[in-house]
Symmetry: C2
Subunit: 328 residues, 2 copies
Amino acid sequence: MKKFINTVDTLLDESLLGFSKAHTDIIQLNAQPHFVKRINPPKPGKVALISGGGSGHEPLHIGFVGSGMLDAACPGQIFTSPTPDQMLAAAQAVESGGGVLFIVKNYAGDVMNFEMASEMLDCPNATVLVNDDVSLPKTHSMGRRGVAGTLIVEKIVGAAAENGADLSTCKALGDRVNNATASMGVALSSCTVPALGKPTFEISDTEMEMGVGIHGERGRETVELTSATEIVEHLCSIIDDELKPKKDQSVLLHINGFGATPLMELYLVYDLAVQFWQKRGVTICRSLVGNYTTSLDMAGCSVTLSLLDEELLKLWDAPVHTAALHLG
Amino acid sequence: MKKFINTVDTLLDESLLGFSKAHTDIIQLNAQPHFVKRINPPKPGKVALISGGGSGHEPLHIGFVGSGMLDAACPGQIFTSPTPDQMLAAAQAVESGGGVLFIVKNYAGDVMNFEMASEMLDCPNATVLVNDDVSLPKTHSMGRRGVAGTLIVEKIVGAAAENGADLSTCKALGDRVNNATASMGVALSSCTVPALGKPTFEISDTEMEMGVGIHGERGRETVELTSATEIVEHLCSIIDDELKPKKDQSVLLHINGFGATPLMELYLVYDLAVQFWQKRGVTICRSLVGNYTTSLDMAGCSVTLSLLDEELLKLWDAPVHTAALHLG
């Protein structure tokens, strides 16, 4: 395993320390239990938005804490859910009278622990469950996974909360964005989880994993590596079948890198995805290209499409000031 | 070779198309010859800042075109200098009466071609040569290479030019920032140049390349992989010996990823570099952590330190609006 680390056990702590020192103008780290909260306190009465999940997906979620997005994020160990006491402590630290909205990616551990935190929390709270990964059927026993679409939910609901929307409005908005969002990913390599010390799976030089999540697991199927055009057509077709955007529908197109894929390739993928939907008369009015929801050092990427209306577009464009996303 | 591409020959064109479609609010792509220019025309009389170099280092330089930074960038083929006609066309497209300042990384091809463009250009112009890589001795036959410090020169001079500084002031400022900046990099893997189709060099699972540039070449020496603390101490020591920051000196600390190293590790490296200089009483007042000057899919990172005074700090903090850097 080749990584810049001291020990597997201290990696997360040391990394969080670095993150907190690099962004003292935006966030503050609570050491025990671990959570990151925004440095500018939210307005009294503002709904507090909290997300979290296993680490290894940086900048998700800690990089999205700040004005206009999350109030706090709870980082678990790598690919491991944070604990209910982290979530509870984070909620108590940022709750400002408007209640708490948890934004949770659909994984069994995350769901269970956020549910426990929700029950323990002594204030109005609700949860938005993100399950944008359309590589799995809707009927999958565990449900679909939450992947790169999560940041779109966080950004849009973050803007609404900052503008004073109340808890039920934020919850309904989050569900609406989630339902209007679909993602599909492909990997060219495994990632190496530090505690394991070797790649999670073996894959040959001519194969790729189609329909992957963000935890270094195998995809829906292992297939022959083909041209970027064919790969992107496949990813986009599955998303298109799911969301069925109509002609002239406005959309946000997000190309997300899993960590080890150069920006040059991500922009090429973006171009091909634009061509796919332009042929269908869909209007790509906003975009985001880069490594936002990563899977350690995995080579690969995902395509995410979100259907936008005027309200969602305005909320997407609202100012946001976080370590990893800065608009306006 | 596992990459999201169609053909090696069309990779750059397709990627630039995607980049230009994703950032229509900031930049515009000129197809023939290739250059990227800012969409908001500079004020009349403003010094035009132009950089460029081989592709494969994204977001450098195209991601730094926009208000407050570069007026144009010329992308060459991967790891290959752009041609003088690209530079000339870019200069003619953005020159606004204040002359042209070329910001050039010190590589033989880049230097030669920018010199030719400078001679062909029919307006006042000057060049800042960036050579911040302290892994090579000052006396090296080709001189030291320009690496991640380049973006610091581009940002600071960009702010001065936007504020109305004239050509000689911008040139002197660029030289001053370059002289106050030092970088040192380490790689855990080679990168794969698409035209070659395989890693540039072989490296064992227990070795690293110390003192690497950004073109996938071997480093100053191949050494045993060790702890992050030891690696960072080594990188920082060489920089510290070069710049000799005094106690209470204000500095900008930039940790740059080469492409395939997770943000989690880069923040850990940042924390260790902070500790190194804090022990020496140096004041780290600004920082930048992320993949900014990459080497395709190389795993590795570099540490860059820039000595700041009040003027440089103010220019670093000035608003900038580009695809890859957004402040204020």
